[in-house]
């Protein structure tokens, strides 16, 4: 994928990609570190329709949300030969009970038989997390298990 990088002298730098549908989407990073998400307008491709300021946390969470489907798709692909095994992702919300607790505290494996194979944080994939792994809001958990087990796991996370 081709990322266009344009310096904005005195302000910062803009990095963007052009989507298959012809829209520009990217970020402007200002010199003081402030990040803005930009999306080009449909009727005037030169202009930005929106320019949304993002905090570090917001940017990281957005990165997780965008990055996770790809990992899940990959895992699903690998499990295709094992009927009954599915992959799903769960988001730890910032007001979740598990924000600040460890992975072991969710008792996911004991209660549902589901395995957590990776955690996505700030756009990074952390594979094979151990039970003492500390969770924080915005983390995406990638789980592998049966459909039934994954439903139960979803319940645990949502009630959290």
């Amino acid at each position: 994928m081709n990322v266009d990088e344009t310096p904005l002298p005195g302000i910062g730098v803009r990095k963007e990609i052009t989507t298959a549908s012809g829209r520009r989407i990217g970020i402007v990073t200002q010199r003081d570190g402030q990040t803005e998400l930009i999306v080009s307008r449909q009727d005037d491709p030169d202009a930005a329709m929106a320019s949304i300021p993002l905090t570090v946390d917001e940017a990281a969470t957005l990165g997780n949300l965008l990055g996770a489907p790809r990992l899940v798709a990959q895992l699903t692909d690998e499990h295709r030969d094992l009927p009954g095994v599915n992959t799903r992702q769960f988001l730890i919300e910032t007001d979740s009970r598990f924000d600040g607790l460890t992975l072991g505290d969710t008792e996911m494996r004991t209660k549902t038989g589901v395995s957590l194979v990776a955690i996505i944080r700030a756009g990074k994939v952390l594979p094979s997390p151990t039970p003492d792994f500390g969770l924080t809001g915005g983390d995406l958990l990638v789980a592998v298990g049966t459909s039934k087990g994954l439903d139960a796991a979803a319940n645990i996370i949502q009630q959290g």
Partner: protein, 396 residues
């Protein structure tokens, strides 16, 4: 009342008034610079209240204001950005120089103010306000727009042009001959090139020398260095402001970001003082006679700036709405026009009407420039709709 007490109260009154004007500017969403000028007019010679005894203080503070304005401008850019900007936009930059320097110069000439005033007024109408423009672009959410880099690289060109123009102006104002002027151009081009090379190759070393973890030490080092460099530059006839600008360019990376953060409040204080002092030294009664000409100049240079932005954006393959945005963004003139006029007035080498003209001109351009670019898109849409309607009407 003792002399000191009186001066403290006068200063306090000025700062409080400037604060009120700044608040008003924020409320109506315009740059405070034009209002500071108005504030100065209000207080100064021939104004409503005539302050006295502050001349020495205000002279020094406005000098420091200019040095800080240019230092922070230099800090905003890295040498790499300047060189790239120059490479990308030199032709549009030259077009900008020709189209926007000429109206001011021609008008000063036509009014019989002489060649020096022509050089000054050309500079006043040429240079856009990078401060006002950067703020407007950010406020209107245009940082993601494709025409924005075009605008910014034109501003880079203008700021570099200032680094050559100001030394020339300083020599001419000091009454040196043409030969000395040409020599200064040579010296300043050499110095600018040298600083760019040093900043590109050894920028980190310069930054390390001035850098410090202690905020207080850092502040004193940067400010001290800026004033020293400005003083030396002034002695060499390269203009104090340009010295500070070049120091700003030589400082780069995180040191530059920190220096900007720490110096910004000081810059705002001294620059506000500088604008007010420029207004203070302008007699309000001299404005009405030149107001008509200032309006003409404002109209002409609005068109010429739009033309430059339009052309530069078109050259980069940007559509009509983007060209209109680029052109209108560049219209705002502000701080540097006043810096140029301020240098001229302080030297006493130009007619006093020039100060009145520059004040009126910046008042117009500083206020209407940002308004114009805000209205550019809706106006264009209205025009397109209007041109579509008669076509349909004729068919019937």
């Amino acid at each position: 009342m003792s002399h000191t007490a009186l001066i403290l109260m006068e200063l306090g009154a000025i700062f409080v008034s400037l604060a009120l004007l700044g608040r008003l500017a924020g409320k109506i969403g315009i740059s405070p610079i034009p209002l500071y000028l108005v504030g100065g007019l209000f207080f100064g010679h021939g104004g409503v209240i005539d302050f006295t005894g502050l001349e020495n203080f205000t002279r020094i503070t406005s000098e420091i204001g200019v040095v800080l304005l240019l230092l922070l401008l230099g800090l905003e850019y890295s040498a790499k950005e300047l060189v790239n900007g120059l490479r990308q936009s030199w032709f549009a930059g030259l077009l900008d120089l020709v189209l926007n320097f000429s109206p001011g110069a021609v008008m000063a000439w036509a009014l019989g103010w002489g060649p020096i005033a022509a050089l000054v007024m050309g500079g006043v109408t040429y240079i856009s306000s990078s401060g006002i423009i950067a703020k407007v672009l950010t406020d209107l959410g245009r940082l993601g727009n494709r025409e924005t880099p075009v605008i910014l690289s034109l501003l880079v060109f203008e700021d570099l042009a200032m680094a050559v123009y100001l030394p020339v102006l300083t020599t001419v104002l000091a009454g040196f001959s043409f030969a000395t002027g040409a020599q200064t151009v040579g010296i300043s081009l050499l110095v600018v090139t040298l600083v760019l090379v040093i900043a590109l190759k050894y920028g980190r070393a310069v930054s390390t020398i001035v850098d410090s973890d202690d905020q207080e030490v850092f502040l004193l080092t940067v400010l001290g260095a800026a004033l020293l460099v400005a003083g030396v530059a002034s002695t060499l006839q390269v203009s104090a402001a340009v010295g500070a600008f070049l120091l700003g360019i030589a400082i780069s990376g995180s040191t530059a970001t920190n220096a900007t953060r720490i110096l910004e409040p000081l810059r705002d204080l001294f620059a506000a003082m500088f604008f007010a002092v420029f207004g203070l030294n302008t007699d309000p009664s001299t404005i009405p006679p030149v107001l008509g000409w200032a309006v003409v100049l404002a109209l002409v240079t609005t068109v010429t700036k739009i033309a430059v932005g339009w052309w530069a954006a078109k050259n980069q393959g940007i559509g009509v709405p983007g060209r209109a945005r680029a052109g209108t963004s560049l219209v705002a003139r502000g701080e540097f026009s006043i810096v140029i006029a301020g240098l001229a007035v302080a030297s006493g080498a130009v007619e006093p009407e020039l100060a009145a003209m520059a004040t009126a001109y910046v008042l117009l351009m500083g206020i209407f420039g940002p308004v114009l670019t805000r209205l550019a898109e809706p106006a264009l849409r209205l025009l397109q709709r209007k041109s579509a309607v008669p076509a349909g009407g004729r068919a019937r």
